[in-house]
Amino acid sequence: MSADDLTPRQTGDMLHREVRAPSDESERGPGGERLQHAEAASKPIRADAPREPQPRGAKVRGNRPIDQAEAAERFLAAPLHQKAHDERLWDVRRKRDVAAHGIPEWEELRELASQIKTHTLTHLDRYLEQFEAAARANGVQVHWAEDGAAHNRIVLDILQKHGAKSLVKSKSMLTEECGFRHFMAAHDIEIIETDLGERIQQLDDEEPSHVVMPAVHKTRIDVAEVFARTLGTDPDNDDAHYLAESQRETTRPLILKADAGLTGCNFAIAETGTVVTCTNEGNADLSGNVPPLQIHSIGIEKLIPRVEHLGVFIRLLSRSALGSPITQYTSHFRGPRPGTEMHMVLVDNGRSERLGMEEFWTSLKCIRCGACMNTCPVYRRSGGLSYGATYSGPIGLIIDPTFNKRKYSTLPFSSTMNGSCTNVCPVKINIHEQIFAWRKVLAEEHQIPLLKQGMMKAAGAVLSRPAAYRAAIQTADSALRVLPRFAVYNPANTWGKKREMPHAPHQSFHAWYRQNRMKKGSDA
């Protein structure tokens, strides 16, 4: 079915005539096949009725350690959400595998991406200077911000100089890091998110729960509730087309009258001074091309040396993120439109310090694709908001503690250490090894809560002594048979929830070997 064949929908003035009827699902191609691009699920993942309140994220109390397990427990106690979330992300992960396997040089691309990033990060002073010079030559005004607060002040200053009172923006994890929306609200600047998922989260006064799919933890019923409350939509209509169209129709007037536009940055090209954004909605292009004032916020680790390197990263990014060969829009902003100003803000916010952390600096290679989140069994079953931090999932576990060791001290324990995150990372960050390294650092610095310290000590004592381990197993056939209810399924061990451990064999391998092979050996 194509847009031409659509039966106009008769639901009042607000909706465009081409919005399809509520019974329709995902878009179809010319041959009638279900299309799979962008964030599309490969099959309908519809949360079952009846209504179930959306589980909310971790309780954040100042500088106190986030209790991820407590929030995860509440997520697990909402089975409709948990199931839909788990299935949705696993579907994206499988689409990623198909896309990756379609490229024979996939592993070579990962290695190249890793080496290009490693090289750039270790020569970042030089590349930043080159970027700044190129951008200035292009007529761009370049600013430097040491931290999030400085970023916010710089942007506010630009807005105030232009008398700007409203700003439309595309999704940017950097601005989340900086607390940009909250800061601007306090200064009476209206901020409008233009990515659908991010807009849902803004209207619900929640942080994004995923770096690529900000509202992936919400069902359509949740979205219908948020939009009914904030946009005045029909609370009983949870058709995804109706909801998306309502957002489009209510956001567009705000885009048209906005005084300024801001985007984040996926890649910044040192040789040309270009900011590259990758979106499916085209909202970065609206933010950059409609308002009379244009701002781009750039984390300094986003630099890559040359345009030709995009030929590596663009092929990896959307395939890793969503299993799509490319995002609908790949946009290259290099210079201002005639008669307007373009500003670029280079933001450090802890990155230059992280570069000096021997075990953790390579986390700066991250291109924010979210593949590690989609594959993570803990993330899929606990939701991004349970981490109580800007970055969730495996990459969050190793980035968040660099911002605040105490507040995020428990996060590196929210991992099964299965290593899947490392295997799917397009820039080959050794994520699970860094998670383990953080556990050691936090233990040495006494940042680990007492309960986890006790569990680790007990486990360490048994696992470090083979004889004791074997004795423990022999007395009850299997460690899993004695430990599960206590250690595996206790409330502190989030990832034991909703997963039954495999049935332990009646005989351990060690006992079997002794009984069979060693006996046979003596018979021979």
Binding site: R220, T251, R252
Partner: protein
């Protein structure tokens, strides 16, 4: 000390030890067959766009129904005369009422089904997002094999704005249901039509 100098200073102080050379990027073998037009069309179809052939007598015959149904048409190409003059637009938001925009792509990419525009091709950048529907003229001779080849083109070093469109604006942020026309155009149709030869 300025923020700039402080940041650059820390980057120098904290630089990890070791040699980390910039690797040479090899030219990868194309993953598409020799018929670039067919490959382009297949891939754009999977991304939610469509490809039409130009008609003989009326080059726009295959998209005529779309054009006839439109009240406001903005054309950035000499092959089609619209009723909204892009050269006379005062501010980008004035194009919010455009039903169909007709633009020409600088080139296409067979591997992904993408088309590239620069600010010169669009005349007003916002028209490619505010219009309800986009009709893109593409010369079949202007299709490059893959993204790697695309980034070897000089456009990225010269254009103030360059953008790949690969199908229409899309979202699946609500339960994975794919929806075209998230914020930008609801449809993207590529019309294969040779460029008019420049007068010598």
């Amino acid at each position: 000390m300025s923020a700039r100098d402080a940041i650059l200073g820390r980057l120098r102080t904290n630089r990890p030890a070791g040699e980390f050379p910039l690797p040479d990027v090899p030219t990868f073998a194309p993953l598409v067959g020799g018929d670039l037009v067919a490959e382009f069309a297949e891939r754009l179809g999977k991304m939610g766009g469509r490809v039409e052939q130009a008609g003989g007598a009326d080059p726009f015959a295959t998209v005529r129904s779309r054009l006839d149904g439109a009240q406001v048409i903005a054309s950035a190409v000499p092959e089609f005369v619209g009723n909204r003059d892009l050269g006379a637009v005062r501010k980008p938001g004035d194009l919010a009422d455009v039903d169909v925009a007709v633009v020409r792509a600088r080139f296409g990419v067979a591997e992904t089904g993408s088309v590239l525009f620069t600010e010169g091709d669009l005349i007003v950048n916002s028209v490619a997002y505010l219009a309800q529907h986009l009709i893109v003229l593409l010369d079949p001779a202007d299709i490059v094999v893959n993204i790697q080849a695309a980034y070897k083109r000089p456009d990225f070093a010269h254009a103030a704005y360059a953008v790949f469109h690969t199908g229409p604006s899309a979202t699946a942020d609500i339960e994975g249901v794919l929806i075209h026309g998230a914020q930008g155009v609801r449809s993207l149709t590529v019309l294969l039509l040779q460029r008019k030869k420049q007068a010598a």
